[in-house]
């Protein structure tokens, strides 16, 4: 029964990591400059989940296997007078913006919150089952 608490904790940790990734995406949804001052926008991050919990070595539970970059295209907006607009090439006159859609991030965030709550309920259920089992002794 206590192993179940480990499983649920791993899920809570994973969902919270996912929320942090989403929050970072939302915060950087307009970051078009990198540290060298060039038009290298922030690339959207994704938290990839995978079964198993390496922290306890158990096969149940979940963990974030890696935080990968979203390979989809950046958004290009036509701003010819912008100082960072490309001078030539296929995107002349366009500025590259991060490939982050705030609507998608919000829906993702809602789903992460829902999963988090569901796992909290599992923890409550586990707790009540352990307490009822203790009544057999006391």
């Amino acid at each position: 029964m206590f192993g179940t608490l480990d499983t649920t904790t791993s899920a809570l940790v994973a969902q919270r990591t996912r929320s942090e990734v989403i929050a970072a995406n939302m915060a950087n949804s307009n970051a078009i400059q990198d540290e060298n001052g060039e038009n290298n926008p922030f690339r959207r991050r994704l938290a990839i989940f995978s079964t198993g919990d390496p922290a306890t070595g158990s096969k149940t539970g979940v963990h974030v296997r890696e935080i990968a970059m979203d390979p989809s295209e950046f958004q290009y907006r036509y701003m010819p007078d912008h100082p960072l607009a490309a001078k030539d090439g296929p995107h002349a006159g366009y500025v590259a913006f991060p490939n982050i859609d705030p609507m998608m991030e919000q829906v993702d965030m809602m789903e992460a919150a829902r999963a988090y709550e569901a796992n909290i309920m599992v923890a409550e259920a586990t707790k009540s089952m352990i307490q009822t089992s203790l009544r057999l002794i006391a």
Binding site: Q15, T60, A115, V122, L136
Partner: protein, 144 residues
Amino acid sequence: MINGMFDSGAMPTLERMIQFTGRRHQYIAHNIANISTPYFKPIDLDPKAFQHQLAGAIERRRHTGNPQRGDLELRSTRQVRVRGKSLEFLPAETNDGILFHDRNNRSLEHIMQDLVENTTAHRMSIELLKSEFDLLETAIRERL
């Protein structure tokens, strides 16, 4: 006499129920933990099959001399193998629910319902078993 004390009444049935619901809780927790994992298939034990298994053993016990005594003799099924006093569980992947884009066919509402039912069954079995033990204790003590 001592062993016979613990085979009386509904005690063997309740013990088996507690074993089953306790183990199933771990699988349900695992499924809910992986609600966002792509390519994940939920695993579960079938409670109806287990009820069928129990019903068979209860029937066999009732046809012996005394329906209130004697241990239950469960017959192993595909999912639940009997090893003496303990049970070995082999859960199967469930295949209901629609397949989402990330190939995870979960349905959170159904899993939460399973969680509540399983938890309730577990706690109810424990409370009923406790009252059986209390009865034995009261009889031994000869005082209430």
